[in-house]
Protein backbone atom coordinates (compact mmCIF):
# COMPACT_ATOMS: atom_id res chain seq x y z
CA UNK A 1 0.00 0.00 0.00
CA UNK A 2 1.49 3.29 -1.02
CA UNK A 3 1.55 6.20 1.40
CA UNK A 4 -0.02 9.49 0.44
CA UNK A 5 1.11 12.54 2.37
CA UNK A 6 -1.97 14.56 3.25
CA UNK A 7 -0.47 16.94 5.78
CA UNK A 8 2.85 18.54 6.45
CA UNK A 9 4.09 21.72 7.99
CA UNK A 10 4.95 24.54 5.62
CA UNK A 11 8.61 24.85 4.69
CA UNK A 12 8.80 28.36 6.13
CA UNK A 13 7.48 27.18 9.53
CA UNK A 14 10.45 26.87 11.88
CA UNK A 15 11.55 23.25 12.01
CA UNK A 16 10.47 21.23 15.04
CA UNK A 17 8.77 24.12 16.80
CA UNK A 18 5.29 24.18 18.28
CA UNK A 19 3.59 27.45 19.14
CA UNK A 20 3.00 28.83 22.61
CA UNK A 21 -0.54 29.91 21.78
CA UNK A 22 -3.48 28.86 23.95
CA UNK A 23 -5.84 26.09 22.79
CA UNK A 24 -8.44 27.64 20.50
CA UNK A 25 -6.36 30.73 19.67
CA UNK A 26 -6.50 31.78 16.02
CA UNK A 27 -2.90 33.00 15.80
CA UNK A 28 -1.57 29.55 14.94
CA UNK A 29 -3.93 29.24 11.98
CA UNK A 30 -3.12 32.75 10.78
CA UNK A 31 0.62 32.08 11.08
CA UNK A 32 0.21 28.91 9.07
CA UNK A 33 -1.65 30.74 6.31
CA UNK A 34 1.21 33.27 6.10
CA UNK A 35 3.72 30.41 5.89
CA UNK A 36 1.75 28.57 3.21
CA UNK A 37 1.51 31.73 1.09
CA UNK A 38 5.23 32.46 1.52
CA UNK A 39 5.98 28.91 0.37
CA UNK A 40 3.57 29.01 -2.57
CA UNK A 41 4.91 32.34 -3.82
CA UNK A 42 8.51 31.19 -3.28
CA UNK A 43 9.43 34.35 -1.37
CA UNK A 44 10.96 32.97 1.82
CA UNK A 45 14.43 34.37 1.11
CA UNK A 46 12.99 37.77 0.15
CA UNK A 47 10.39 38.21 2.86
CA UNK A 48 11.09 40.53 5.80
CA UNK A 49 8.60 40.37 8.67
CA UNK A 50 7.89 42.94 11.34
CA UNK A 51 6.84 41.42 14.64
CA UNK A 52 4.32 43.28 16.81
CA UNK A 53 4.01 43.69 20.54
CA UNK A 54 1.36 41.38 21.94
CA UNK A 55 0.77 37.63 21.90
CA UNK A 56 2.35 37.40 18.43
CA UNK A 57 5.53 39.19 19.53
CA UNK A 58 7.37 35.90 19.13
CA UNK A 59 6.01 35.21 15.63
CA UNK A 60 9.69 35.07 14.61
CA UNK A 61 10.00 31.88 16.63
CA UNK A 62 7.58 30.24 14.19
CA UNK A 63 8.03 31.85 10.77
CA UNK A 64 11.47 31.43 9.25
CA UNK A 65 12.02 34.71 7.40
CA UNK A 66 14.13 37.74 8.18
CA UNK A 67 12.52 39.60 11.07
CA UNK A 68 12.77 42.86 12.94
CA UNK A 69 10.82 43.46 16.10
CA UNK A 70 8.96 46.75 16.04
CA UNK A 71 7.96 48.81 19.07
CA UNK A 72 4.28 48.61 19.97
CA UNK A 73 2.20 49.82 17.05
CA UNK A 74 5.15 51.02 14.98
CA UNK A 75 5.51 48.10 12.59
CA UNK A 76 4.08 50.01 9.58
CA UNK A 77 6.66 52.78 10.12
CA UNK A 78 9.53 50.28 10.45
CA UNK A 79 8.25 48.49 7.35
CA UNK A 80 8.11 51.80 5.47
CA UNK A 81 11.73 52.44 6.43
CA UNK A 82 12.80 49.03 5.11
CA UNK A 83 10.78 49.25 1.92
CA UNK A 84 12.24 52.67 1.09
CA UNK A 85 15.70 51.08 1.02
CA UNK A 86 14.77 47.64 -0.30
CA UNK A 87 11.77 47.93 -2.64
CA UNK A 88 12.86 44.56 -4.05
CA UNK A 89 12.00 42.78 -0.80
CA UNK A 90 8.59 41.56 0.41
CA UNK A 91 7.95 43.42 3.64
CA UNK A 92 5.04 42.39 5.85
CA UNK A 93 3.72 43.29 9.27
CA UNK A 94 1.65 41.07 11.54
CA UNK A 95 -0.20 43.10 14.16
CA UNK A 96 -2.95 42.65 16.68
CA UNK A 97 -5.79 45.05 17.40
CA UNK A 98 -4.17 46.73 20.42
CA UNK A 99 -0.99 47.17 18.39
CA UNK A 100 -2.53 48.35 15.12
CA UNK A 101 -5.83 49.97 16.08
CA UNK A 102 -4.89 51.63 19.37
CA UNK A 103 -1.28 52.64 19.99
CA UNK A 104 -0.36 52.26 16.32
CA UNK A 105 -3.39 53.88 14.70
CA UNK A 106 -1.32 56.81 13.48
CA UNK A 107 1.29 54.61 11.83
CA UNK A 108 -1.19 52.34 10.04
CA UNK A 109 -3.32 55.20 8.71
CA UNK A 110 -0.33 56.99 7.23
CA UNK A 111 1.31 53.86 5.84
CA UNK A 112 -2.01 53.05 4.14
CA UNK A 113 -2.39 56.64 2.98
CA UNK A 114 1.04 56.61 1.35
CA UNK A 115 -0.07 53.50 -0.52
CA UNK A 116 3.32 51.99 0.33
CA UNK A 117 3.79 48.60 -1.31
CA UNK A 118 3.45 46.64 1.95
CA UNK A 119 1.43 43.69 3.25
CA UNK A 120 -0.32 44.01 6.61
CA UNK A 121 -1.86 41.05 8.42
CA UNK A 122 -4.15 42.47 11.10
CA UNK A 123 -5.48 40.12 13.77
CA UNK A 124 -8.69 41.36 15.39
CA UNK A 125 -9.73 39.34 18.42
CA UNK A 126 -11.51 42.18 20.21
CA UNK A 127 -9.26 42.06 23.28
CA UNK A 128 -5.72 42.65 24.60
CA UNK A 129 -4.41 39.10 24.86
CA UNK A 130 -0.86 39.18 26.18
CA UNK A 131 -1.51 41.71 28.93
CA UNK A 132 -4.45 39.68 30.20
CA UNK A 133 -7.77 40.62 28.64
CA UNK A 134 -8.08 44.39 28.81
CA UNK A 135 -10.51 46.31 26.61
CA UNK A 136 -9.26 46.89 23.05
CA UNK A 137 -10.45 49.52 20.57
CA UNK A 138 -12.18 46.60 18.86
CA UNK A 139 -13.90 45.18 21.97
CA UNK A 140 -17.59 44.81 21.16
CA UNK A 141 -20.37 46.84 22.78
CA UNK A 142 -21.31 45.12 26.03
CA UNK A 143 -18.35 42.71 25.83
CA UNK A 144 -16.68 42.25 29.20
CA UNK A 145 -12.97 42.83 29.59
CA UNK A 146 -10.74 43.25 32.63
CA UNK A 147 -10.83 47.05 32.25
CA UNK A 148 -14.56 47.18 31.47
CA UNK A 149 -15.83 44.50 33.86
CA UNK A 150 -19.46 45.49 33.32
CA UNK A 151 -19.09 45.41 29.56
CA UNK A 152 -18.07 48.05 27.03
CA UNK A 153 -20.23 51.12 27.52
CA UNK A 154 -20.29 53.34 24.44
CA UNK A 155 -20.98 56.42 26.57
CA UNK A 156 -17.64 55.95 28.28
CA UNK A 157 -15.53 53.92 25.85
CA UNK A 158 -16.91 54.85 22.45
CA UNK A 159 -17.63 52.32 19.74
CA UNK A 160 -15.49 49.45 18.49
CA UNK A 161 -13.48 50.63 15.52
CA UNK A 162 -14.04 48.99 12.15
CA UNK A 163 -10.49 49.36 10.86
CA UNK A 164 -11.01 47.91 7.39
CA UNK A 165 -13.96 50.18 6.59
CA UNK A 166 -12.07 53.20 7.95
CA UNK A 167 -8.93 52.54 5.90
CA UNK A 168 -11.01 51.73 2.82
CA UNK A 169 -12.20 55.35 2.89
CA UNK A 170 -8.68 56.44 1.91
CA UNK A 171 -7.88 56.70 -1.79
CA UNK A 172 -4.38 55.21 -1.67
CA UNK A 173 -4.60 51.70 -0.19
CA UNK A 174 -5.30 49.13 -2.87
CA UNK A 175 -6.55 45.98 -1.20
CA UNK A 176 -8.45 45.73 2.08
CA UNK A 177 -10.35 42.62 3.10
CA UNK A 178 -11.81 41.13 6.27
CA UNK A 179 -11.78 37.38 6.75
CA UNK A 180 -11.89 34.98 9.69
CA UNK A 181 -10.31 31.73 10.82
CA UNK A 182 -13.40 30.66 12.79
CA UNK A 183 -14.26 27.61 10.70
CA UNK A 184 -12.65 25.63 7.84
CA UNK A 185 -14.93 27.15 5.22
CA UNK A 186 -13.79 30.63 6.28
CA UNK A 187 -10.14 29.60 6.50
CA UNK A 188 -10.09 28.76 2.79
CA UNK A 189 -11.24 32.29 1.98
CA UNK A 190 -8.82 33.74 4.52
CA UNK A 191 -5.98 31.95 2.74
CA UNK A 192 -7.05 33.47 -0.59
CA UNK A 193 -7.04 36.96 0.94
CA UNK A 194 -3.62 36.52 2.56
CA UNK A 195 -2.28 35.20 -0.72
CA UNK A 196 -3.77 38.16 -2.59
CA UNK A 197 -2.20 40.60 -0.11
CA UNK A 198 1.27 39.12 -0.68
CA UNK A 199 0.78 38.68 -4.43
CA UNK A 200 -0.12 42.38 -4.71
CA UNK A 201 3.23 43.31 -3.19
CA UNK A 202 5.10 40.88 -5.44
CA UNK A 203 3.33 42.55 -8.37
CA UNK A 204 4.28 46.01 -7.08
CA UNK A 205 0.67 47.08 -6.76
CA UNK A 206 0.70 48.85 -3.40
CA UNK A 207 -0.70 48.72 0.12
CA UNK A 208 -2.66 45.61 1.08
CA UNK A 209 -4.26 44.77 4.42
CA UNK A 210 -6.09 41.65 5.53
CA UNK A 211 -8.06 41.89 8.76
CA UNK A 212 -8.46 38.42 10.27
CA UNK A 213 -11.17 38.00 12.90
CA UNK A 214 -9.68 35.66 15.44
CA UNK A 215 -10.43 34.08 18.79
CA UNK A 216 -9.11 34.51 22.32
CA UNK A 217 -10.87 31.89 24.46
CA UNK A 218 -8.57 32.48 27.44
CA UNK A 219 -9.38 36.16 27.77
CA UNK A 220 -12.94 35.87 26.54
CA UNK A 221 -13.49 33.35 29.37
CA UNK A 222 -14.75 30.63 27.02
CA UNK A 223 -13.91 27.13 25.91
CA UNK A 224 -12.38 26.98 22.41
CA UNK A 225 -15.54 25.69 20.72
CA UNK A 226 -17.66 28.35 22.45
CA UNK A 227 -15.16 30.98 21.42
CA UNK A 228 -15.37 30.09 17.73
CA UNK A 229 -19.17 30.07 17.97
CA UNK A 230 -19.10 33.50 19.62
CA UNK A 231 -16.79 34.76 16.92
CA UNK A 232 -19.22 33.65 14.20
CA UNK A 233 -22.41 34.68 15.98
CA UNK A 234 -21.32 37.92 17.66
CA UNK A 235 -18.20 39.32 16.02
CA UNK A 236 -19.05 38.78 12.37
CA UNK A 237 -22.36 40.68 12.59
CA UNK A 238 -20.47 43.76 13.81
CA UNK A 239 -17.42 43.16 11.62
CA UNK A 240 -18.84 41.95 8.30
CA UNK A 241 -16.58 39.80 6.16
CA UNK A 242 -15.73 40.88 2.67
CA UNK A 243 -13.41 42.78 0.37
CA UNK A 244 -13.73 46.50 1.01
CA UNK A 245 -11.30 47.61 -1.61
CA UNK A 246 -9.42 46.03 -4.49
CA UNK A 247 -7.00 47.34 -7.05
CA UNK A 248 -9.19 46.52 -10.01
Amino acid sequence: MSEVKVYSRPKSWMPDVSSHYCPGCGHGIAHRLVCEVIDELGIQNDAIGLAPVGCAAMIYDYIDTDFCEAPHGRAPAVATGIKAVRPDKIVYTYQGDGDLASIGMGEIVHAANRGMNLTVIFINNAIYGMTGGQMAPTTLIGQRASTCPLGRDVKVNGYPIRVSEMLAALPAPGYIARVTVAQPKYITKAKQAVRQAFQNQVDGKGFSLVEILSSCPTNWGMRPVEAFDWLVNTMIPYYPLGTFKDFD
Binding site: D46, T65, D66, R74, I82, V85, G106
Partner: protein, 353 residues
Protein backbone atom coordinates in the same frame (compact mmCIF):
# COMPACT_ATOMS: atom_id res chain seq x y z
CA UNK B 1 33.78 71.12 -4.16
CA UNK B 2 35.93 73.84 -2.55
CA UNK B 3 34.95 75.97 0.39
CA UNK B 4 31.44 77.33 0.13
CA UNK B 5 29.29 79.48 2.37
CA UNK B 6 26.48 77.34 3.73
CA UNK B 7 23.89 77.31 6.46
CA UNK B 8 24.61 74.72 9.16
CA UNK B 9 21.53 72.60 8.59
CA UNK B 10 22.17 72.43 4.83
CA UNK B 11 25.85 71.67 5.40
CA UNK B 12 24.85 68.75 7.65
CA UNK B 13 22.45 67.46 4.99
CA UNK B 14 25.00 67.71 2.17
CA UNK B 15 27.68 66.14 4.38
CA UNK B 16 25.35 63.19 4.99
CA UNK B 17 24.72 62.74 1.26
CA UNK B 18 28.48 62.88 0.63
CA UNK B 19 28.84 60.23 3.36
CA UNK B 20 26.65 57.90 1.32
CA UNK B 21 23.37 58.46 3.16
CA UNK B 22 20.65 57.86 0.59
CA UNK B 23 17.64 57.42 2.86
CA UNK B 24 16.21 60.11 5.08
CA UNK B 25 13.04 60.04 7.15
CA UNK B 26 11.95 63.48 8.32
CA UNK B 27 9.34 65.46 10.17
CA UNK B 28 9.17 69.25 10.37
CA UNK B 29 10.24 71.06 13.53
CA UNK B 30 12.07 74.37 13.89
CA UNK B 31 15.05 75.01 13.84
CA UNK B 32 16.06 72.02 11.66
CA UNK B 33 13.56 72.21 8.78
CA UNK B 34 16.23 72.89 6.17
CA UNK B 35 17.61 69.36 6.67
CA UNK B 36 14.46 67.50 5.52
CA UNK B 37 13.87 70.19 2.89
CA UNK B 38 17.39 69.75 1.52
CA UNK B 39 17.09 65.98 1.59
CA UNK B 40 13.74 65.99 -0.19
CA UNK B 41 15.26 68.08 -2.97
CA UNK B 42 18.64 66.37 -3.32
CA UNK B 43 18.27 62.69 -2.38
CA UNK B 44 16.39 61.84 -5.60
CA UNK B 45 19.39 63.21 -7.53
CA UNK B 46 21.59 60.48 -6.06
CA UNK B 47 19.03 57.70 -6.39
CA UNK B 48 17.96 58.04 -2.78
CA UNK B 49 14.59 58.30 -1.06
CA UNK B 50 13.12 60.96 1.22
CA UNK B 51 10.10 59.92 3.26
CA UNK B 52 8.09 62.48 5.19
CA UNK B 53 6.89 60.72 8.31
CA UNK B 54 3.66 61.49 10.12
CA UNK B 55 5.46 62.17 13.40
CA UNK B 56 8.85 61.89 15.04
CA UNK B 57 7.60 58.64 16.54
CA UNK B 58 7.19 57.32 13.00
CA UNK B 59 10.37 58.86 11.60
CA UNK B 60 12.63 57.19 14.17
CA UNK B 61 10.91 53.87 13.53
CA UNK B 62 11.44 54.34 9.81
CA UNK B 63 15.10 54.92 10.63
CA UNK B 64 15.04 51.68 12.60
CA UNK B 65 13.69 49.87 9.53
CA UNK B 66 16.04 51.57 7.10
CA UNK B 67 19.04 51.02 9.34
CA UNK B 68 18.16 47.35 9.72
CA UNK B 69 18.97 46.89 6.03
CA UNK B 70 22.58 47.85 6.77
CA UNK B 71 22.56 50.91 4.48
CA UNK B 72 23.22 54.46 5.66
CA UNK B 73 20.08 56.18 6.90
CA UNK B 74 19.37 59.28 8.93
CA UNK B 75 16.79 61.49 10.57
CA UNK B 76 16.96 64.90 12.17
CA UNK B 77 14.82 66.77 14.63
CA UNK B 78 14.92 69.29 17.42
CA UNK B 79 14.51 68.80 21.15
CA UNK B 80 10.76 68.06 21.62
CA UNK B 81 10.95 65.80 18.57
CA UNK B 82 13.90 63.93 20.05
CA UNK B 83 11.82 63.37 23.18
CA UNK B 84 9.25 61.63 21.01
CA UNK B 85 11.98 59.56 19.40
CA UNK B 86 13.33 58.28 22.69
CA UNK B 87 11.33 55.06 22.54
CA UNK B 88 12.64 54.24 19.10
CA UNK B 89 16.22 55.14 20.01
CA UNK B 90 16.11 52.65 22.88
CA UNK B 91 14.85 49.93 20.51
CA UNK B 92 17.48 50.81 17.88
CA UNK B 93 20.20 50.55 20.52
CA UNK B 94 18.72 47.32 21.86
CA UNK B 95 18.53 45.78 18.38
CA UNK B 96 22.03 47.10 17.56
CA UNK B 97 20.99 48.89 14.40
CA UNK B 98 23.24 51.60 12.94
CA UNK B 99 21.51 54.98 12.61
CA UNK B 100 22.40 58.66 12.58
CA UNK B 101 20.18 61.15 14.40
CA UNK B 102 20.78 64.90 14.27
CA UNK B 103 19.40 67.04 17.10
CA UNK B 104 19.45 70.77 16.38
CA UNK B 105 18.79 71.69 20.00
CA UNK B 106 16.32 74.35 21.04
CA UNK B 107 15.32 75.73 24.41
CA UNK B 108 13.01 73.75 26.69
CA UNK B 109 11.44 72.34 28.73
CA UNK B 110 8.23 71.34 27.00
CA UNK B 111 7.60 73.27 23.84
CA UNK B 112 10.08 75.83 25.20
CA UNK B 113 11.07 78.00 22.28
CA UNK B 114 12.70 77.77 18.88
CA UNK B 115 15.89 79.57 19.91
CA UNK B 116 19.19 77.76 20.43
CA UNK B 117 20.08 75.84 23.56
CA UNK B 118 22.17 72.94 24.83
CA UNK B 119 19.45 71.80 27.17
CA UNK B 120 19.37 68.20 25.86
CA UNK B 121 22.83 67.33 27.19
CA UNK B 122 21.46 64.98 29.83
CA UNK B 123 18.76 63.61 27.52
CA UNK B 124 21.30 62.64 24.88
CA UNK B 125 24.22 61.49 27.04
CA UNK B 126 22.38 59.73 29.87
CA UNK B 127 19.62 58.17 27.78
CA UNK B 128 16.05 59.37 27.51
CA UNK B 129 14.71 55.96 26.53
CA UNK B 130 14.32 52.94 28.78
CA UNK B 131 17.00 50.48 29.71
CA UNK B 132 20.79 50.37 29.82
CA UNK B 133 21.95 51.80 26.52
CA UNK B 134 24.18 54.56 25.23
CA UNK B 135 24.26 56.74 22.18
CA UNK B 136 27.51 58.04 20.79
CA UNK B 137 26.97 61.81 20.97
CA UNK B 138 29.04 64.28 18.92
CA UNK B 139 28.96 68.02 19.70
CA UNK B 140 30.21 70.22 16.82
CA UNK B 141 31.53 73.70 17.50
CA UNK B 142 31.98 74.98 13.95
CA UNK B 143 30.12 74.30 10.73
CA UNK B 144 33.16 72.48 9.35
CA UNK B 145 32.93 70.27 12.40
CA UNK B 146 29.20 69.79 11.73
CA UNK B 147 30.26 68.41 8.35
CA UNK B 148 33.11 66.26 9.63
CA UNK B 149 31.24 64.86 12.63
CA UNK B 150 28.15 64.07 10.56
CA UNK B 151 30.34 62.01 8.24
CA UNK B 152 32.11 60.42 11.21
CA UNK B 153 28.71 59.57 12.71
CA UNK B 154 27.95 57.21 9.81
CA UNK B 155 31.29 55.44 10.21
CA UNK B 156 30.84 55.02 13.96
CA UNK B 157 27.22 53.87 13.57
CA UNK B 158 28.26 51.09 11.21
CA UNK B 159 31.44 50.20 13.08
CA UNK B 160 29.65 49.69 16.37
CA UNK B 161 26.11 48.91 15.11
CA UNK B 162 24.89 51.67 17.37
CA UNK B 163 22.84 54.85 17.01
CA UNK B 164 24.96 58.01 16.85
CA UNK B 165 23.64 61.49 17.58
CA UNK B 166 25.04 64.74 16.25
CA UNK B 167 24.04 67.18 19.00
CA UNK B 168 24.23 70.53 17.25
CA UNK B 169 22.80 73.45 19.15
CA UNK B 170 20.51 75.83 17.32
CA UNK B 171 23.34 78.23 16.45
CA UNK B 172 25.17 75.43 14.62
CA UNK B 173 22.00 74.79 12.64
CA UNK B 174 21.10 78.33 11.76
CA UNK B 175 24.36 80.23 11.28
CA UNK B 176 26.33 80.38 8.03
CA UNK B 177 30.02 79.67 7.63
CA UNK B 178 32.46 78.53 4.96
CA UNK B 179 32.70 74.76 4.79
CA UNK B 180 34.35 72.18 2.60
CA UNK B 181 32.33 69.02 2.06
CA UNK B 182 34.26 66.13 0.58
CA UNK B 183 32.89 62.74 -0.39
CA UNK B 184 33.51 60.41 2.54
CA UNK B 185 35.94 57.56 1.70
CA UNK B 186 33.44 55.14 3.25
CA UNK B 187 30.42 56.42 1.34
CA UNK B 188 30.05 53.26 -0.72
CA UNK B 189 30.52 50.85 2.15
CA UNK B 190 28.21 47.94 1.41
CA UNK B 191 25.63 46.68 3.86
CA UNK B 192 26.99 44.03 6.20
CA UNK B 193 25.26 40.92 4.89
CA UNK B 194 26.20 38.93 7.98
CA UNK B 195 23.43 40.57 10.01
CA UNK B 196 21.43 43.03 7.87
CA UNK B 197 17.87 42.26 6.81
CA UNK B 198 17.30 41.41 3.15
CA UNK B 199 20.22 39.03 2.59
CA UNK B 200 18.69 35.69 3.56
CA UNK B 201 19.42 34.29 0.11
CA UNK B 202 23.03 35.54 0.22
CA UNK B 203 23.38 33.83 3.61
CA UNK B 204 22.27 30.55 2.09
CA UNK B 205 18.81 30.62 3.66
CA UNK B 206 19.97 31.66 7.13
CA UNK B 207 17.69 34.40 8.36
CA UNK B 208 18.54 37.51 10.35
CA UNK B 209 16.49 38.37 13.38
CA UNK B 210 16.85 41.80 14.99
CA UNK B 211 15.14 42.09 18.35
CA UNK B 212 15.42 43.47 21.85
CA UNK B 213 12.89 41.11 23.46
CA UNK B 214 14.34 38.36 25.63
CA UNK B 215 11.65 36.97 27.91
CA UNK B 216 14.05 34.90 30.00
CA UNK B 217 16.41 36.71 32.35
CA UNK B 218 19.54 34.74 31.43
CA UNK B 219 19.68 35.68 27.73
CA UNK B 220 18.54 39.23 28.50
CA UNK B 221 21.33 39.69 31.01
CA UNK B 222 23.80 38.22 28.51
CA UNK B 223 22.48 40.60 25.82
CA UNK B 224 23.02 43.48 28.25
CA UNK B 225 26.52 42.28 29.09
CA UNK B 226 27.32 42.20 25.37
CA UNK B 227 26.04 45.76 24.98
CA UNK B 228 28.07 46.89 27.98
CA UNK B 229 31.22 45.32 26.51
CA UNK B 230 30.56 47.29 23.34
CA UNK B 231 30.05 50.53 25.26
CA UNK B 232 33.30 49.90 27.15
CA UNK B 233 35.06 49.47 23.80
CA UNK B 234 33.55 52.74 22.56
CA UNK B 235 34.64 54.52 25.75
CA UNK B 236 38.16 53.23 25.21
CA UNK B 237 38.40 54.08 21.49
CA UNK B 238 36.23 57.05 20.72
CA UNK B 239 36.80 59.81 23.28
CA UNK B 240 37.41 63.03 21.40
CA UNK B 241 38.37 66.32 23.00
CA UNK B 242 40.21 69.54 22.16
CA UNK B 243 42.34 71.47 24.62
CA UNK B 244 43.21 75.11 24.03
CA UNK B 245 45.93 77.05 25.84
CA UNK B 246 45.84 74.85 28.91
CA UNK B 247 49.58 74.20 29.36
CA UNK B 248 50.10 76.84 32.06
CA UNK B 249 46.45 77.62 32.74
CA UNK B 250 45.22 78.37 36.27
CA UNK B 251 41.62 78.45 35.12
CA UNK B 252 40.13 76.15 32.49
CA UNK B 253 36.78 76.77 30.85
CA UNK B 254 34.94 73.53 30.01
CA UNK B 255 32.53 74.03 27.15
CA UNK B 256 31.25 72.35 23.96
CA UNK B 257 29.41 73.44 20.83
CA UNK B 258 28.61 77.12 20.43
CA UNK B 259 29.54 77.88 24.05
CA UNK B 260 33.06 76.62 23.29
CA UNK B 261 33.38 79.08 20.38
CA UNK B 262 32.38 81.91 22.65
CA UNK B 263 34.72 80.65 25.37
CA UNK B 264 37.60 80.49 22.89
CA UNK B 265 37.17 84.20 22.16
CA UNK B 266 37.06 84.91 25.89
CA UNK B 267 40.25 82.88 26.43
CA UNK B 268 42.00 84.82 23.64
CA UNK B 269 41.01 88.16 25.16
CA UNK B 270 42.00 87.13 28.68
CA UNK B 271 45.34 85.78 27.46
CA UNK B 272 45.97 89.17 25.81
CA UNK B 273 45.51 90.63 29.29
CA UNK B 274 48.06 88.16 30.62
CA UNK B 275 45.57 85.96 32.48
CA UNK B 276 46.35 82.26 32.45
CA UNK B 277 43.08 80.85 31.14
CA UNK B 278 42.55 77.88 28.83
CA UNK B 279 39.72 75.74 27.53
CA UNK B 280 38.82 72.08 27.40
CA UNK B 281 36.24 71.20 24.74
CA UNK B 282 34.58 67.79 24.71
CA UNK B 283 33.79 66.79 21.12
CA UNK B 284 32.25 63.50 22.17
CA UNK B 285 29.93 64.26 25.06
CA UNK B 286 29.31 60.50 25.17
CA UNK B 287 31.73 58.86 25.59
CA UNK B 288 32.85 61.71 27.84
CA UNK B 289 36.56 62.51 27.37
CA UNK B 290 37.63 61.49 30.87
CA UNK B 291 41.19 60.76 29.74
CA UNK B 292 41.80 64.36 28.64
CA UNK B 293 40.46 65.72 31.93
CA UNK B 294 42.80 63.36 33.80
CA UNK B 295 45.78 64.90 32.01
CA UNK B 296 45.02 68.54 32.90
CA UNK B 297 48.30 70.24 33.92
CA UNK B 298 49.22 70.73 37.57
CA UNK B 299 48.87 74.51 37.16
CA UNK B 300 45.06 74.19 37.03
CA UNK B 301 43.30 75.57 40.12
CA UNK B 302 39.72 76.00 39.03
CA UNK B 303 37.27 74.95 36.31
CA UNK B 304 34.47 77.06 34.91
CA UNK B 305 31.73 75.15 33.10
CA UNK B 306 29.80 77.20 30.57
CA UNK B 307 26.70 75.97 28.76
CA UNK B 308 23.43 77.12 27.23
CA UNK B 309 21.50 75.31 29.97
CA UNK B 310 21.32 75.18 33.76
CA UNK B 311 24.58 73.28 34.19
CA UNK B 312 23.87 69.82 32.84
CA UNK B 313 27.56 68.97 32.20
CA UNK B 314 28.78 69.87 35.70
CA UNK B 315 28.40 66.35 37.09
CA UNK B 316 30.47 64.86 34.25
CA UNK B 317 33.24 67.39 34.90
CA UNK B 318 33.17 66.56 38.62
CA UNK B 319 33.46 62.85 37.82
CA UNK B 320 36.15 63.42 35.19
CA UNK B 321 38.26 65.46 37.65
CA UNK B 322 37.42 63.34 40.72
CA UNK B 323 36.13 66.59 42.30
CA UNK B 324 39.68 67.78 42.86
CA UNK B 325 39.06 71.34 41.61
CA UNK B 326 36.47 73.87 42.64
CA UNK B 327 33.94 74.13 39.82
CA UNK B 328 31.98 77.22 38.89
CA UNK B 329 29.22 77.49 36.32
CA UNK B 330 28.10 80.24 34.02
CA UNK B 331 25.19 79.52 31.71
CA UNK B 332 22.27 81.12 29.98
CA UNK B 333 18.90 79.58 29.17
CA UNK B 334 15.77 80.25 27.18
CA UNK B 335 17.56 80.79 23.89
CA UNK B 336 20.39 83.04 25.10
CA UNK B 337 24.06 82.18 24.83
CA UNK B 338 26.64 83.53 27.27
CA UNK B 339 28.42 86.51 25.72
CA UNK B 340 32.19 86.67 25.39
CA UNK B 341 32.14 89.53 27.90
CA UNK B 342 30.07 87.55 30.40
CA UNK B 343 32.50 84.63 30.32
CA UNK B 344 35.48 86.99 30.59
CA UNK B 345 33.93 88.68 33.61
CA UNK B 346 33.23 85.34 35.25
CA UNK B 347 36.85 84.26 34.66
CA UNK B 348 38.19 87.52 36.09
CA UNK B 349 35.96 87.15 39.15
CA UNK B 350 37.22 83.60 39.74
CA UNK B 351 40.85 84.71 39.33
CA UNK B 352 40.27 87.69 41.63
CA UNK B 353 41.16 90.16 38.90
Amino acid sequence: MGRVLMKGTEAIAEAAIQAGCKYFYGYPITPQNEIPEYMSAHLPEVGGVYVQAESEVASINMVMGGGSTGYRVMTSSSSPGISLMSEGISYIAGCEIPAVIVNVMRAGPGLGGILPAQADYLQSTKGAGNGDYNLIVLAPSTLQECVDLTQLAFDLAQKYRNPVMVAADGFMGQMMEAVEIKPSPTRNQPADESWALGFMGERGGKRSHLHSLYLSPEPLEEHNRKLQRKYAEIKKNEQRCETYMIDDARLVVAAYGTTARISRSAVNNLRAEGLKVGMIRPITIWPYPFETFKRLPSTVEHILVSEMNAGQMIDDVKIATSCKYPISFYGRMGGFAPSVREIEDECRRILGQ
